[in-house]
């Protein structure tokens, strides 16, 4: 029968789960003088509250109770605070506009691509200009073949059989597209 429903261990007094040992340890007496030692430890603890006080040199009556000294101290504090605030205020200029870098207006190049808003675009060479000299270069090709496509093997063989122009001439005569037009004399 459990005499104390709120006492958990009293429900099984004879079972062997080490109850006796635990009870023995739990019932060990405290050492002699424990309370006194705790009192001493509490007395030595530095946890007393302290009220902020003036230093000993200022605690003398002649200094502490003189009204002019307090007034001077208060005036010094006010002067420092107001002066500091004014110093900060005077250094800040009101209504100053921020620095703005004005970029030069870009003139779009005529006939070229658009800059797409780029800040800077490199200089490009002038586009190719087809003149009268460029027409003989395309005579080798068959009239039906398009300009950008290669000819058939037969055509390649025929052109291979043709005597090649002397190298000296080819080097001397650059492509018509690379020849700059001569200025016309007026």
């Amino acid at each position: 029968m459990n005499s104390n429903p709120h006492k958990p261990m009293s429900s099984a007094p004879n079972s062997d789960f080490g109850e006796e040992t635990l009870r023995l340890i739990a019932g060990l007496p405290a050492p002699q003088g424990l309370e006194e030692r705790v009192h001493e430890a509490l007395g030595a603890a530095p946890c007393r509250g302290h009220v902020l006080a003036w230093p000993a040199t200022f605690r003398a009556k002649t200094v502490l109770e003189s009204n002019w000294m307090r007034t001077a101290a208060a005036a010094t504090i006010v002067f420092v605070v107001v002066g500091g605030g004014w110093g900060v205020y005077s250094r800040v200029e009101q209504g100053q506009s921020g620095k703005v870098v004005v970029m030069p207006a870009r003139v779009p190049a005529s006939g070229g691509f658009a800059g797409a808003g780029a800040m800077r675009t490199p200089e490009t060479l002038p586009g190719p200009k087809i003149g009268e000299q460029a027409t003989p270069a395309s005579t080798d090709r068959s009239p039906g073949a398009p300009a950008g496509t290669k000819g058939t093997r037969e055509q390649e063989g025929r052109s291979a059989r043709k005597p090649a122009a002397p190298k000296k001439n080819r080097i001397a005569q650059p492509a018509a597209s690379q020849v700059a037009p001569k200025p016309v004399a007026q």
Partner: protein
């Protein structure tokens, strides 16, 4: 004395509330002293049941009361001082045990034979009892933490399951279920230990 002089003089004067503060502090000191006289022994036993070292247990009790001193302002709000103090010292000893995991405890048989009461026992009986207690404590150490805590606290006659629940911060039903599990585990462990011991004697 003019009005301004009176205001200036009041700057550095000790206010009247400080006198009340001093009286209040004295009352709190007296209350803490009464708590020490009343509960120091109980707290020592709780601490010793976990740490099993007299000096460590005493240190834990002192630390608990130092914490009380630090939180003296909340002393009036505490409903049950005994459970509150046991909870403080319980947390302290658990923390200490966790930190000093590697340090060996005084679980050896000789120390137990010295500490535990031995009225009307011969030397052989005393040695056998001490050996049995050491075996039991070794089994307690092998229990899971939750079950071990409940089992240790339940050994204190003065603590009810409601108070154990309050100390551990769990419900009373949890205390009961953990205690049930702890007892079963302890019985199994002790059975196993006993069989091993008998086998080694054969």
């Amino acid at each position: 004395m003019s009005t301004s002089q009176a205001i200036y003089a009041g700057w550095m004067e000790i206010p009247t509330s400080a006198v009340n503060e001093d009286a209040r502090r004295r009352a709190e000191d007296a209350a803490i002293a009464a708590l020490v006289d009343q509960y120091a022994a109980a707290l020592y036993r709780v601490a010793y049941s976990v740490l099993r070292n007299p000096s460590d247990a005493e240190d834990a009790v002192q630390e608990a009361f130092l914490r009380v001193l630090r939180h003296r302002h909340s002393l009036a709000e505490v409903r049950d001082h005994r459970v509150w103090l046991i909870r403080i010292v319980w947390n302290i000893v658990l923390d200490r045990k966790r930190r000093a995991k590697t340090r060996p405890e005084t679980d050896d048989v000789a120390e137990l034979a010295r500490v535990l009461p031995a009225k009307g026992l011969s030397q052989e009986e005393l040695a056998a009892a001490a050996e049995h207690h050491a075996r039991v404590l070794a089994c307690v150490e092998r229990l899971p933490v939750k079950e071990r805590e409940v089992l240790l606290l339940s050994a204190f006659e003065e603590l009810t399951s409601v108070e154990i629940a309050s100390v551990l911060g769990i419900t009373e039903s949890s205390v009961r279920s953990r205690l049930f599990r702890a007892r079963n585990l302890m019985a199994e462990l002790l059975d196993y230990e006993r069989n091993e011991h008998e086998r080694s004697l054969r």
